[in-house]
Structure formats: C-alpha cells, structure tokens
Symmetry: C2
Subunit: 439 residues, 2 copies
C-alpha cells in the first residue's frame, strides 16, 4: 500500500496497480487486540480508501507466477498483467513448528484476514484453557489481552530463557514477565512443545520435560518466514536467511523488480549482517524508498540498515526498544557502556497518573555513539523510544545527548532535572569517565 | 542545583556550596497546577535531598554583593564566602507591568515559594472573578487550571493577536484558544490593561478599549526579566537584552565566573541572535555544560544555541513546539516549506483513548534541514516533540525523516503507515518536489 501510494505521489502520471490475495485484510499490528479490546472486529479492517482516493487500481487475486523476461505476472483467475516496474511485497507466512499434532483442530496460527480473526476471537472467548506457543511480541500480547479480558487459564511456552529475549535485556524481560504473571499467566520458559494431543480436538500440550498442559485452544506465535515462493520460482536471488535479496535501494537482482517489507532482505544497521527483523515501520520506510526510486534513483535514498525499533504494552505498562541491547552487543562483540535512569513521568511525581519511567541507553565504549535504548513506563514510552530511534539513525553521541535541549511539562513528562533520557546518558558518561557513580 | 550536582559528580574531591534565598522553593514548572490538580501544595516542594546526598552544602541566605577581584560573595546575614569558581544561577524576576494600580491588594505576581503559592492557592479557590494578565504559557495554564477546577469566571488579557503567539503558528493558537473558550474562559486579545481599580482591594480591571472587567483577583503572568543585579553591580558584562553575557561554555567575561539559566544570555540556534527563551530544560542543559567545564574545558561541550522546546496541556489536550514556527521563519527571513499531517494516536483509531495527533514540520526550503515542529494531541505529544527537538539539534534532513525507522504500536502510537511525524515530512517533501499534494 505505501509503495503504491508513494509511487503514485512521486509519478502521478503512471498507473499503479496493487494485487493482493486477501480481500478482508486487517491491520496486522492490532491483531491481538481484536480478541477483547476492539469491540467490533470490523473496526480493524485495512480499507482500500486511500488507494481508491489516489486512483490506484486494486485487484483481489493471487499472483501465481512471475515471468521476468516478459515482465508478466500470472494470476490465479487466469488473468495476466504486464508491468514496467514490479514491487514484491509478499510479506511473510506464519511458521508452524514441526510438532506432532500441529494440525489438530483447535490449533491456530495467526492469519491476517477478518474471517480468520473472527473465528479466533470466538474461540478465544469460549476457551477455558489456552496455550500460546512462543513468547515473542505476538505471544506476550495475546497472553496479556486474553488474561485481562477473560477468565481463561493462559499458558505461554517459550524456548528461550526469557520472554521477548531478542528484544530486551533481562531486567526489562523480567518486568514484562512479572506483569503477565500478575495477570495470572503461566510461563514455561526454556521449554519446547513436543506433542499436541487430542485427535479430533486439541485436549493438551506436552512439553519437553514431560509436563502435560490441558488445553482447549492452542495459538501459535513462533514467528514466521519470508514468503518468497513467487520470487524464488522466477529465479530471483534468495538470501541464506530465506529473503529476497535487495540492494540498498530495494532493487532485487532482476531488472525492474523491487522488493520491500518482510519478504525482503534486512541488514542490521551496525553490522550489515542479515537479520530477521520484520516490523511494519521498517517495511513502511522501505516502501517509501522503493516508491520514490522506482523510475530511477533521482533522489539518493537508501536504507541505512534496520534498527529494529518496537514498542508494546503489557499489563497497562509500555515497553520499548530500539537498536542494540547489551545482550546483543555481547553477542556481536561490540564493546559498550550503558546508563540507566528512573524517574516519574510527571513532575511532581505525585501528580495523578504518574508512572515511573525506566530508560536504559547503550553507547559504544570509546566513540560514545548511541547503539540502542530500552524503556518501560507509561504510554509516553511509545514516542520516547522514537527519540532514541532517530538518535541511533543520526549517530547521536553520549555527550550530545547529555546536553540535549528537550521539552518538559509537569503533566506530560519527567522533570527537566531528572528526565531519564538525558540522565541515562549522563550516567553512561560518568562511567566513560571511569567513575563509579554520579547524581 | 544541576550545576552543583554535575560539578560534584565530575569533580568529586571539590567542595560545592549552593546559596539560595528561598528556603521553601517549589518546582516552578508545576506552579499553575498547585491551585487544584496537586491536592497538597507540599507535594510540589523542591527538596534538598539530592544535594544532601551528594554532600553539597546548602546555605539559605541572600547574596547581596559580589567582589570579583577578591573572589568573594557577601551574604545578607553578614557572612562572606570565598570561591575558586562561581556560577551565577540567579534566574529571573516576574515582571509587573507599569499599570496604574498594579500594587493594589489582590494583584499577584508568580513567586516561586511555598508560602506565596499557599496564599495564591487560597485566593484562587475563593475568588469569583479572576483576571489574568498575559496569555503566554503561565496565563494559559492558570486559566485552564482555574476554569476547570472551580466555578470562578476567568478572563485572560493578551496584547498579541493570539494566545501563545510566540510559541505556535495560528492554527495551534486557535486550538488552544478554542479549548479555553470551551472551558468558559473569556479571552481579550489585542488588548492591554490600562488601570487596575479598587484601592484597598482590587475590584476591576480597565482595558485600552474602555471595557471594565469586574475582578476580585488579578494574576500577572506577563513574563519577566533576568535577575542580574548582583552581576551588574560587580561590573560583569550585561547584554542589550538585559542578560549576563556568557560564551558558548557558559563563561562570563569575569575570570572564574560562569552563569547559567534564565539570567544568562541565550543565543538562538539558527540565528545566534539574543533571544528571550527561558525554559527549565534549557537551563538544565546549560548547567551540565558549566558543571562539567568549571575547572577547565576538558571535554568540548558547548551550547549550540537555544531551540526553545516546550510543551503544555490545555483542556486535556497536549500542545508542543520546538525550533522555528512558520511565523518565526517569516520574521527572520528564513525561506521554508512546511508539511502537516493528522492521524489518530492509536491504530485502529477506534481504540479506546485514541485522540487525533496533529504534526506540523518546518524545513529550510532548499537544504531541507529541519527548522522546527509543532504538535497537538494526546499526552504522547510531550515526548513526540523531543524527537523533533533532537532532530533539529542533529540537523535532520526532510529526506532522512521521510525514511526514518520508528517504533509503532496499536495501543501507543499512530499506525506506521500514517504516523504524522513521518507523514508531515513526506508532505513537505512533496512540496519541495513542486507537487500540489501527496497521500
């Protein structure tokens, strides 16, 4: 959608056509909230209004073949479409782990259509014991939504030592886990499911350690893999990680073909390694690059690498991360120094609605360049993390951040004297100076 | 406080002493909210806890003379203190306009002490008709706080054509005015007070156009002027705007004497002109620079110029601005292009608590450098403006912002496809390309 809208905006005299195989698509990020928070599932439909308004043709059909030589797409309906320029935005497919019984009725993956979500919503509302496979964002958000919206018993099975292990350092993972446990969610960490039992209808899930969890509904949220079948069959270059290879301008190795979003190669901002970061906001940035450069790179716009900026809300508390965690630094061999700070997100902190805001910032230990940040607190964390995200992308230095001028207000933010964004930089700087502590 | 804490942190073996003349100081930014929102005025006391903890000596006394030659400060109590290094952080004095009757009982300026605020709080809670002189942040926030917290009739008299005229462009001023008018506040724009009438107790206020507004309480919030008496009498250089002159390292023209905060010269980030921008967050940034460099400029840290980043909340809606407005660009001769965008601050926009978020960004019309931004919406605007503030200070370009990767979440932010921060940049970029519109 964003590639189409951008291309039409930059090249208004070209005709743009969008082919999609799901007619009743939903806004994907809000899928967990379709169970209880969003009163009517119709409210989360991904409409075609903006496309219609921009005079972009939309075809609901499935592309089944791509002919690179003839610049032709064949559709399931039998129709063929010839193109000047093609953009592949085929997204990803939810993964179903190779577990005995994974096809048992009552086991649901996450599908991005209204009809599938209506079914899952009804099942979630009726179920008494729900097991969620995977403790990433989808798993944690579904667990929170279901546990707080109903009386169902909720279990999450995660193979890593913590929930959201790749997104946060331990202390933030722990806050998230505590919040879920307070809502009554049962966590099974360092665990895998070995069988799903039931036959006609799921009855239980058996873990590696032999524990059998009774269940009348299983939700699978273990991630996914890029949907590259069309590209691969047409001979386009596929990466080791299973994505469509693209250059920094989102061009594939085939002439006149671009790829954007979850199906396209993501390179890490700092290491340029291929990384499995599939986020709507990253896809949107890529879409704007492809849409602008589709008829020639008139404006030098390239993706700098993916920084993995995300946020979530668990148990009424917001959590967010951008760039490298300390754990990520360790794994990649980055030497780092980190600073932490906590302050109420209103001042004075006794004001109604005030919540503690935690910020942790990670900097390169000599250069002082901002590598990443994590935050937890009230809803303003959702925008706070974007200051960090922009700072990473603009290579903000710890000394610059320490003296950054920011806006503060009693009813909206922490006090200027203790704002955790600035104070965390200040703490890191004190460590860089070799001191033990600072105010 | 922040200079002292920073200096003690960077030079832990030096002894640091803070002299202040108000023993019961309050957190200044929250003063308007001491009338109703903060249940107990004691909750807004500016404590000495952090100073005590850092082993900084605090003296409650008034500095009455500075002897530069002898490096000596004389106090009202008769005591004298000799210093190695001196930092002047004498702040500003609230201005009382030269109006007949300004000293009538019942006319109150804003004093930053608990005792003064207790009196004002009682008077505000008892008053039936309140006139506020000045429609800047203080005036607008007091009007909102009083009108929503009591049945008093509230009038605001402002000499400019709009409230908050120097902070926002017209459309944002209009939103703020509408919000206040909905709360029943009476606005008198393009007006000055000529007399305050009453004698023993204020009874009314007469405007330039002859209108007489009955009043039993008058609050003066027309700004102030830097408190530079001590510095001026000691022969330090004072600027044309009435501030203590400082260089980019916060050093005055006298050896070993620094100045920070409202009393010290502020230079505009873009023009380097002296500007009357007095904000706690700017003062805090300056304090960290002075505190770090006080025994020699070991770390190159200089103030880049003041960008005036601020936020407020009026009528339950947040408003914020950073850098140049379009009006400011016009006045300073900057050629600019602006982009505007509105989207719900949740996605889908039907989620509970969703509010429309307006963002307006101003860029240099050839270079595309971010010059300023304004925003209105829910509470997350308080942190959103800091992404803009950091962007200005890091000289973010419209093309970089258009492809910036940001974090989004249904319950916390706008959708990635329409986030107003990115979309406003996209709109401005379309204008830079000479197009009429874009999606």
């Amino acid at each position: 959608m964003i590639t189409a809208l951008t291309a039409k905006s930059v090249y208004p005299h070209r005709s743009v056509c969008l082919i999609k195989d799901v007619g009743d698509g939903v806004i994907p990020c809000a899928i967990p909230y379709m169970i209880h928070t969003i009163p009517d599932p119709n409210q989360n439909i991904m409409g075609c209004g903006p496309l219609d308004k921009a005079e972009i043709e939309t075809i609901i059909d499935k592309a089944i073949a791509l002919n690179v030589e003839e610049k032709r797409i064949d559709l399931a309906s039998g129709q063929s479409i010839f193109y000047d320029r093609l953009v592949l935005a085929t997204g990803m497919m939810p993964a179903m782990p190779p577990v005995t019984g994974i096809r048992t009725p009552g086991v649901f993956g996450i599908e991005k259509s209204l009809s599938a979500m209506r079914t899952l919503r009804e099942r979630c509302r009726q179920a008494e014991r729900i097991v969620i496979l995977g403790g990433g964002f989808i798993g944690a958000e579904f667990a929170d939504e279901i546990a707080r919206g109903s009386k169902a018993e909720v279990h999450v099975v995660e193979m890593m030592p913590k929930l959201l292990y790749f997104a946060f350092d331990d202390e933030f993972c722990d806050m998230i886990q505590q919040s879920l446990e307070e809502a009554g969610v049962h966590l099974h960490l360092n665990q895998r499911v070995v069988t799903i039992d039931g036959g006609e209808q799921v009855r239980s899930v058996t873990l590696e350690d032999g524990e059998k969890i009774p269940a009348d509904l299983v939700i699978v949220g273990v991630g996914g893999k890029p949907n590259v079948a069309l590209a691969a069959e047409a001979g386009l270059r596929i990466t080791a990680g299973g994505s469509i290879w693209v250059d920094d301008y989102m061009r594939t190795n085939a002439q006149a073909i671009f790829a954007v979003g979850d199906c396209a190669l993501k390179r890490d901002f700092f290491t340029r390694k291929e990384v499995p970061v599939w986020l709507a906001s990253t896809a949107t940035a890529e879409a704007r690059i492809a849409g602008t450069n589709i008829y020639g790179i008139r404006v030098l716009r390239q993706i700098q690498g993916t920084i993995a900026a995300f946020s979530t809300k668990i148990g009424g508390k917001a959590f967010a991360s951008a760039g490298l965690t300390c754990r990520g630094c360790g794994q990649e061999g980055f030497r780092w120094v980190c600073g932490r700070s906590i302050a109420p997100d209103r001042h004075p902190g006794t004001l109604p609605g005030a919540m503690p805001m935690h910020v942790k910032l990670v900097f390169a230990d000599r250069a002082g360049t901002l590598l990443g940040g994590q935050a937890a607190g009230g809803e303003s964390v959702g925008e706070l993390i974007n200051t960090i995200a922009v700072g990473i992308q603009k290579q903000l230095n710890v000394r610059e951040l320490d003296m950054m001028q920011i806006a503060t207000h009693p009813l909206l933010t922490s006090a200027p004297t203790v704002h955790p964004l600035i104070n965390a930089a200040h703490m890191a700087l004190a460590k860089l100076r070799g001191q033990a502590s600072c105010p």
